[in-house]
Symmetry: C2
Subunit: 593 residues, 2 copies
């Protein structure tokens, strides 16, 4: 069975040596000193590796059971959930006035990686609650906040998000669920929602569903969608639980993975709901928390990749098979360990350079979220809005590929469920789909975000890369050749692709949209290239100063060089595809397929 | 639930318009006239789409059950197996003297695609039998052939291959299973084998296990391995079944996919075995059928990709979601079908251009096998030996990726087992692993096949591409620009990679081996590029002649242009990686990971 170790040293390196969080003037960051974050991460590391990780396979094998309207989570989930609540983890980055600890989002994100990596299906129960609570925090009335948040911040009550219906997922304008206004100001919500993660379960006393629905008579399409709070149990005036609401789970889905999380069909049958935010502004309310939710899903890509990589690495060091062609490495054994073989190395380095680069990317993005929310930094807000589809789409596509590579290292054993490597790929697969399928992320990036505010956010990104190179290149020939020059080339490829879209997208938008997936991926590579350049610099600096763990820093530099030599050049291929335009993509009539 | 339609028209196009099989002077090919192959393929199409495809999901959901030493296959498998046997399909390309129909391997391969695509787990029962029978055909004594082949050619008895042991898969020299010679000329085989596909089941009266084992006192390592025939039931002199042999299934594995096929732990406890071929030459005996087996697995990559693509395409035409940005295509409906969206097109064209290209590649390779075996063509034998790891590794890696792309088109529904798209990816995953994991294929290609016979086979391949271009380029500016020039560039990239290996592999073999996976993939792309160039020519010729279905041929040309513009340029990225050498791949000590 796989094991999991929290990558605390690596998280600390990114937080303190690369991002220098405690030196930042973002409100609340001064508290994030290295000793403090280390203590938090160590504690989270214990809980996740010792309690959650051992339940990962249990959740996969048992799954959730649906009996007489009740969903039972896998053995051990309830106890573990109590431990998570007792540790105060769900409220780590929530406001103190509702029982949270008011830590910056970047720390919540660092901790979140450990939770996701150790047990994604389990962590979704609290993840969805966090998302729903954030929506109430952003859009709820004072009374709503007081009624729901104290219980949701602690996960005494959990939350859900209800968007999809059988005939519409991406295109929510076709939604049929309706919410009829009542005299008392509440609404009666009727309709069916599908793919509702954590929709029904036995971990909490109450479940607070956030449901998108249309108020009859409102605008057609997506502009007539509103957001409602629909509790499983109504709440009495004294705060105690009242009658069961007309919201019920109709069935749970059999899925490819994340079996430990209940994916429900939710039937709303005249259920009492309360408008959250303004009428007909439901999509806007939903979207204010979309950045966080999508970054959270991007993190799942990294998290599953890292969990799978840790086990693949251990197996590659342990499994004896074949001999090093350049000379036996384990003369006393019947064979050398797998890790001597160049193609195994290649696969391990792909994984290592991805997960460490992605970790820096996610944490850097989290600091942008903090700068935007805590520091009212509009530039940071614009930049993270631009990067969100890249984080979600690129990291989940790549994260999935990495779990497949990790599984491959196990050979035949990778295909046998008992060894646990299949679960990483099956669980990682969903992250490419939910919270906006990756094709939709690419469309959002190229069709919306690139041109947002006159394109100033993407210009700011290129300017940032340019400034970084200007400040740091030209001082060390080796760093220039192995790190900065490749980053410069890749960034130029990305700019050329943006230029192609500008010049050819106007006469035919399909010229841009046919390249959207490639653009998202090349953007992701440039971001990871930038992260690796920053990490290489930090490592080089520590080595020059003779501070810290020299092997750790030399390994960082070597891994940076690998990424630059073997991964970053993918931008050229993406550019070639993009510049081939829409013609070959759109040539066929639908009937000709 | 997914459905499957046999791609008869496309197979016919490749067989007759591209490969012109009935014009070939390979013995037996004259029979392969278009009407005849169409009749065979239509018949196979009916059986596979109507009988095997509907059992695919059944097999996945029920799996095999192991009770008291007996393995029960899923509901319906037994009946379907009887229908397959009654149709004579297992013996299609087997010699007439043992009850087969003596058809060329290329026809068996075309039919095999339909079987694999409709139900891979089911088809493996006959596939393994075919492999075992081929080994007996090639290496058995006359008596062995007469004893086993008539029953195996009809699948009255099925076969298995036993290589892997718990501690060794790739590195079979560490094998522990032993075979002790007996006075009567037989051997007593003792040991444990794992991952034995079709090892035990209820579809046949007897199971003929081919088992690799070591005769005590023989050479150490891989040179001391011999191959044995170990029947489940011993066979009396009159041909009737005798006593149960000491070969028993210990358990069946829970796997990620191919649930309908029983993957067994096989325990041999002094089982009676008969030497097949020469003592200590077991690996050689195994390898003579490896080319066929590996091409068969490569075909599974194509087959699963095509089955998944067919369903993704149907869904993309049916599912209404969003609007075409260039103008509404379905004004009377609430939304346009998915297929209007450029990124959905891109994913569909990736799949279409891969499956059709791979189909041509597989069938062309099958003609090389026929030329080698039926025509004693040593050049064809050398070429197909070179291409075998490419077929196996490239087509299964890519085939898997294509099933993931097909699944993605379904959005959330792709993740729900009920919709069946997950099964294609889970089933396709095994083909990257078994019959030599793809890293081993890459190693075989770069470490062995490239330099085989002084490198003359790879030189012949380049010469063939050059000759093809010389004969066909320079006559049509559009074909040159969209088809032949891209092929020429890609072929040059491949040659440059080979040159890099020659120049840098001697001083450090890791410089070659670090690029082995990239080389295998770029070789695959060049092969598919060559196939697309041939198909484009054939289509162009038919259009010029005004013969056949013009839309079909125009679609071929458009798909060829897509492959050349969007897929083939991957060779440049692979070359960049290869030319970066071993340095970044091998930089870290194992402890530094």
């Amino acid at each position: 069975m796989p094991s999991y170790t929290a990558p605390v040293k690596d998280l600390q390196f990114v937080l303190h040596d690369v991002l220098n969080v405690s030196q930042s003037d973002i409100p609340g960051y001064a508290e994030l000193e290295a000793d403090f974050t280390a203590a938090v991460l160590d504690e989270a590391g214990k809980l996740t590796s010792q309690v959650l990780a051992p339940l990962n396979a249990v959740g996969d094998q048992e799954g959730c059971r649906f009996e007489n309207g009740v969903v039972r989570t896998p053995t051990g989930f309830k106890d573990a959930f109590e431990q998570v609540k007792a540790g105060g983890w769900p409220g780590l980055d929530m406001p103190e006035e509702y029982g949270g600890q008011n830590m910056p989002y970047v720390l919540g994100t660092a901790v979140g990686e450990l939770f996701s990596a150790s047990n994604q299906a389990f962590t979704m129960y609290q993840g969805l609650t966090h998302g729903a609570a954030s929506a109430i925090l952003a859009h709820g009335t004072k009374a709503q906040k007081q009624q729901f948040l104290p219980k949701m911040v602690t996960c005494e009550w959990t939350g859900t998000m209800n968007l999809t219906e059988p005939h519409c997922g991406t295109d929510l304008g076709m939604m049929r669920t309706k919410a009829e206004p009542q005299d008392d100001g509440s609404y009666r919500v009727t309709g069916q929602k599908i793919f509702i993660s954590s929709g029904e379960h036995d971990l909490a006393d109450n479940i607070i569903h956030l449901v998108l629905a249309k108020i009859p008579g409102g605008p057609a399409g997506i502009k007539g969608v509103s957001l409602f709070i629909v509790p499983k149990f109504l709440i009495n005036e004294d705060g105690s639980l009242g009658a069961r609401n007309g919201a019920a789970c109709g069935k749970i889905e059999e899925k490819m993975g994340i079996h430990g999380n209940s994916t429900c069909v939710m039937n709303y049958d005249g259920a009492t709901g309360y408008l959250l935010g303004e009428a007909h502004k439901g999509m806007r309310a939903m979207f204010t928390m979309m950045n966080e939710a999508r970054i959270g899903v991007g993190m799942q890509g990294l998290a599953q990749a890292d969990a799978a990589y840790q086990n693949a690495l251990a197996y590659a060091k342990d499994r004896l098979q074949g001999r090093d062609v350049t000379g036996t490495k384990n003369p006393d054994g019947p064979a050398d360990p797998l890790i001597v073989h160049p193609d195994v190395r290649r696969a391990l380095m792909d994984q290592k350079s991805f997960t460490e680069g992605a970790r820096a990317f996610i944490l850097w993005s989290a600091t942008l979220i903090d700068a935007a929310h805590r520091g009212n930094d509009a530039a940071a807000d614009g930049l993270v809005s631009l990067l969100t589809p890249v984080i979600k789409g690129f990291l989940t596509d790549q994260g999935y590929d990495m779990t497949v590579k990790a599984q491959q290292i196990y050979g035949g054993h990778g295909y046998i469920e008992e060894w646990g490597m299949s679960q990483f790929t099956r669980d990682a697969r969903i992250a490419m789909i939910y919270e906006g399928a990756n094709g939709v992320q690419a469309l959002d990036l190229v069709g919306r975000k690139l041109a947002q505010d006159g394109g100033k956010h993407v210009m700011a990104f290129f300017e940032m890369v340019k400034t970084f190179l200007k400040e740091n290149a030209g001082q060390d020939a080796t760093l220039d050749a192995t790190i900065f020059d490749p980053l410069k080339r890749a960034s130029k490829d990305l700019q050329a692709a943006g230029m192609y879209f500008m010049q050819n997208g106007v006469k035919d938008p399909n010229n841009a949209l046919s390249g959207s997936n490639d653009f998202m991926h090349m953007f992701g590579h440039v971001c990871l290239g930038l992260m690796w350049a920053k990490m290489a610099l930090a490592a080089q600096k520590a080595l020059s100063a003779g501070s810290g763990d020299a092997t750790f820093h030399e390994t960082k530099l070597a891994t940076a060089r690998y990424y630059m030599a073997r991964q970053l050049p993918a931008t050229a291929l993406h550019l070639t595809r993009i510049e081939s335009g829409a013609q070959t993509v759109m040539a066929l009539d639908a009937e000709a397929f």
